[in-house]
Each structure stands twice: as C-alpha cells, then as structure tokens.
Symmetry: C2
Subunit: 81 residues, 2 copies
C-alpha cells in the first residue's frame, strides 16, 4: 500500500528564525501595520510504500531522525494519510 506522509519540521522555541525575522521586517517595511510575530515551518509530503500504516509511520519516523529533522534545533510531527 502507498501512504501519503506529511512531515512538519519547525524550529524549537528560543532558536533564532532568521527567515521569519526577515519576512516580518519586510512586511512591516511594506506597510503591513497589523503583522506581528512570524514563524516558519517546513513541510515534506512523502509517498511511502508499506504493508501497514504503522510501518509507514515507523519508516518516516526513522527518515526524520536520520535526515529531515535536526534533533538539536527542530521539532517535527508526522501525519499519515
């Protein structure tokens, strides 16, 4: 079976989000007065072939640990559809 896994990778609280700061400053410079704090996240949508949903979850969990998320600075969450 092929599952569609969605991995959301975010920066942990306290880690400087340079891209978000740049976006926030740029929006304010462009005159967007209502814009406050900005945070960013990365999404990976991955097709996973696995016998069961649990096996797909395990495979993607391992992929996060080994490549997609840096445990020191990132939090990640996985949704399997």
């Amino acid at each position: 079976m092929v599952f569609k896994a969605e991995v959301r990778v975010e920066l942990k609280r306290g880690i400087l989000d340079a891209e978000a700061n740049t976006v926030q400053n740029s929006l304010q410079l462009l005159g967007f007065k209502g814009i406050g704090e900005v945070k960013t996240a990365k999404i990976f949508v991955i097709d996973v072939s696995a016998p069961t949903k649990e096996k797909a979850q395990e495979e993607v969990e391992e992929a996060c640990k080994r490549l997609l998320a840096n445990p020191v600075i990132n939090n990640y969450s996985i949704t399997i559809k």
Copy 2:
C-alpha cells in the same frame, strides 16, 4: 483582535522541486526502500491584528501577493485561526 494566520506556499505542478529531489535521492541512498515521490511546502505562521477575521484574511492575502508567494511558480493557501 489578534488572529493566527497560517500560510502554506507550494510549488505549482511541473515546477522542479530541487530540494524535494535531493531529499528523495538522499533517503533512497540511506536505504529507505519504501520512499517514493517527495514534495516540499513552506509554512508561515503569522500573528495578525485586525478588527475582524475577514480583515485579517485580506491583510494576509495581500502579504502573499506582495511578498510570501511568487504567482508564477507558487500556489498558496491561507488558514485563519
């Protein structure tokens, strides 16, 4: 009122997703046999002060057009919470 807007920016179909290709190849090199196609997306979580939800939606829509999304290569969707 302060609303939390989530903007999801993706590449349009047919546009080369170099990052996704690199992730896919790396995962397969790492031995993840079940991994198929990979796509990426960018998420901006923005605090928006606005009198109503509709006004917040309008402000973020304008921010997407002017900065967050390139209409030539990106699709975007906005969720206001």
